[in-house]
C-alpha cells in the first residue's frame, strides 16, 4: 500500500495537530511530523498544506524577522483551526475503526 497516498488524506489533520500546542514555522512542522513517525512526508506537501490551511482561515501566520538570515514565517492554530481539527479527529476515528474492522483477520476477536 502506498503510504504517501494515505498520508495525503490525513495531512491536514496531522499538520493541525502538531501546531495545536505550539506555533511553528514550515521546516519546524516538517520535523515534528517526521519525529512523530511520518517519515515520508514531503517538505513541499507540508508547506503547501500550511498555506492552504492559512488561506482557509484555520491558521494564523506571522513573520519573525531575523538579523542573520531571511524572515521566518510562523503558523499558529486559531479557533477555526481547532474546530476543524476536532471535526477531523472524529471523522478519522470513525474511518479508522471502520477500516480496522474491515481489514481485521476473519475470526479474530475485535
Amino acid at each position: 500500500m502506498d503510504a504517501t497516498q494515505l498520508l495525503k488524506g490525513v495531512l491536514d489533520a496531522a499538520v493541525l495537530a502538531v501546531v495545536e500546542d505550539d506555533d511553528g514555522y514550515g521546516y519546524d512542522v516538517v520535523r515534528r511530523l517526521r519525529s512523530a513517525g511520518l517519515e515520508d512526508v514531503g517538505d513541499a506537501s507540508v508547506y503547501g498544506t500550511l498555506r492552504r490551511l492559512y488561506a482557509a482561515g484555520a491558521l494564523s501566520s506571522y513573520v519573525v524577522p531575523s538579523e542573520e538570515g531571511p524572515h521566518r514565517k510562523y503558523y499558529g492554530i486559531n479557533a477555526r483551526g481547532r474546530e476543524l481539527l476536532e471535526t477531523q479527529r472524529k471523522s478519522w476515528r470513525a474511518f479508522s475503526e471502520t477500516v480496522d474492522h474491515l481489514l481485521a483477520p476473519e475470526g479474530a476477536p475485535r
Binding site: L11, D23, Y25, G26, Y27, V30, G42, D43, A44, S45, V46, Y47, G48, T49, R51, R52, Y54, A55, S60, S61, Y62, V63, S66, E67, E68, G69, P70, H71, R72, K73, G76, I77, N78
Partner: protein, 379 residues
C-alpha cells in the same frame, strides 16, 4: 500567539547571506527556482506560497552538505507538490502560457536539462567541484569586470591602454565584485547579471588574444611598407641604411671590408635597384665592386658613389671623421704608426658561406685584403 502580521513582500535585496556561506546560497538558488516555477500565479499567491521558503530551505541545507536539489528533487517537482498540497491547479492546466507548441517544446528541453543536472549532481565529485567553484566566484567577478571594462574602454576610447582607461577598468572590476557580492534576487537584475556573464565569456577570447598577442603598432608608412622587397637591406633604428663605414681598432676608416651576416649571407644595403630604397629620394647611385672571380659584390664597404661628372666612382665622405681607438687588442698596433690593423678573429665566427674571393684593387683605395688584414684608406 495568533497575531497576524503582514507577510514580507519580497526577500530583502542585497542580503547578508554573503557571510552565511554555502547553504544559504543553495537555499536562495532553490527558492528562486521554485518561485520561477510559480510565476504564472498572481504575485500575492506566489508570495503566500513561497513566503519564508528561504529560511526553511536554509535550515534544511545547513543540516547536510548534500545539495538541496538532490534531497528535495528538482525545483519543478517541488513547486508542483507545493501547488498540489496548497490546492492550486498544476501549472500546465491553468497558466496564461502553457498550452502552446512553444511552451510544450521548451518544457521538454527543460526536463532534459533538469534530468542531466540531476545526473551530474549525483556524481561523487560534484559537491567538491561546486565547493571549489563557489570559492572561485570572486575571481570570476573580478575577471568579468575587467573584461566588460576592457570592452567599454575599447568601444568608447579606443583600444590603447591609457591611464584613464586603466582607472575605468579598475572601477569596472570593483563594480562587478560588488554586484557579485550582493547577489541580486530581483528577476530583471538577475537577468542583467546573466547577460553580463554571457557577454564576458563571449569577449574573453578577444581580450586574451589582444593582451597576449602582438600589439598593433602604427608606424609612419614612409618607413615601413608591407612590400617584402622593402624589408630587405640594412635597417638601424627604423631607418634604412644606404652605406656602411668600417673603422679599425685604431679608429681609422677602412675600405673594401666585406661583411657577412651570421647566416653567411652578404650584408648588402642595396643591390643597385631603385626600389631598394624606401625613402622618397634615393641616395646617390652606389657602385659595387667585382671580385677576382667576376662576381659583383654589394657587401664591400664603404660602397663607392658614382660621381656626377661620369668619372670613376669615388668613396663617399665619411659620416664621422674621427673615432677614438679601442682599448685592448689594437692598442699595441696604434703605438706603431703605419702598421696594418689586424682585426681580431673571433673564435667560432668564421662565416659559413665558404671562401671569399679577393677583391680587385679599387681605383681610389689601397687593396683591402679580406682576411685577416685591412689597410687604411689612402684618402
Amino acid at each position: 500567539m495568533s497575531t497576524t502580521l503582514p507577510v514580507p513582500t519580497a526577500p530583502r535585496p542585497g542580503g547578508d547571506g554573503g557571510a552565511t556561506g554555502d547553504p544559504s546560497l543553495d537555499a536562495r538558488w532553490y527558492a528562486a527556482a521554485v518561485r520561477s516555477e510559480l510565476s504564472d500565479l498572481p504575485a500575492d499567491v506566489v508570495e503566500e506560497l513561497s513566503g519564508g521558503l528561504e529560511a526553511d530551505l536554509a535550515e534544511l541545507a545547513a543540516e547536510s552538505s548534500t545539495p538541496l536539489a538532490e534531497r528535495l528533487g528538482p525545483p519543478s517537482g517541488y513547486a508542483a507538490e507545493l501547488r498540489s498540497a496548497a490546492g492550486l491547479a498544476p501549472r500546465s492546466a491553468g497558466g496564461a502560457r502553457g498550452s502552446g507548441l512553444w511552451a510544450r517544446a521548451t518544457e521538454g528541453v527543460r526536463e532534459d536539462v533538469e534530468h542531466a543536472a540531476a545526473h551530474l549532481r549525483a556524481q561523487r565529485w560534484w559537491p567538491g567541484a561546486v565547493e571549489r567553484a563557489v570559492l572561485l566566484r570572486p575571481a570570476w567577478w573580478a575577471l568579468r569586470g575587467a573584461l566588460l571594462g576592457w570592452l567599454l574602454v575599447g568601444a568608447f576610447w579606443g583600444w590603447g591602454l591609457t591611464p584613464g582607461g586603466f582607472l575605468f577598468l579598475l572601477a569596472a572590476v570593483a563594480a562587478s565584485v560588488e554586484v557579485g557580492r550582493r547577489r541580486p534576487v530581483v528577476p530583471w537584475k538577475r537577468a542583467l547579471v546573466l547577460a553580463a556573464n554571457v557577454l564576458a565569456v563571449l569577449i574573453a577570447p578577444f581580450a586574451l588574444s589582444s593582451v597576449a598577442g602582438p600589439q598593433t603598432v602604427y608606424v609612419d608608412g614612409g618607413y615601413v611598407s608591407s612590400d617584402p622587397a622593402a624589408s630587405s637591406g640594412v635597417w638601424v633604428d627604423g631607418r634604412q641604411v644606404t652605406n656602411l663605414y668600417p673603422y679599425d681598432a685604431q679608429g681609422r676608416p677602412l675600405t673594401g671590408v666585406q661583411l657577412l651576416d651570421d647566416h653567411g649571407q652578404p650584408v648588402a644595403t642595396t643591390t643597385g635597384a631603385a626600389q631598394d630604397w624606401t625613402t622618397s629620394e634615393g641616395p646617390s647611385p652606389l657602385v659595387p665592386v667585382v671580385d677576382a672571380e667576376g662576381a659583383v659584390r654589394w657587401n664591400a664597404y664603404p660602397l663607392a658613389v658614382q660621381s656626377e661628372t661620369g668619372g670613376a666612382p669615388v668613396l663617399p665622405p665619411l659620416p664621422q671623421p674621427t673615432l677614438a681607438p679601442l682599448v685592448g687588442a689594437g692598442a699595441s698596433a696604434a703605438a706603431a704608426p703605419g702598421a696594418s690593423a689586424t682585426p681580431t678573429e673571433l673564435p667560432g665566427t668564421t662565416p659559413t658561406a665558404g671562401v671569399l674571393e679577393p677583391l680587385p684593387e679599387p681605383a681610389t683605395a689601397t687593396p683591402p685584403a679580406l682576411t685577416p688584414t685591412a689597410s687604411v684608406s689612402a684618402g
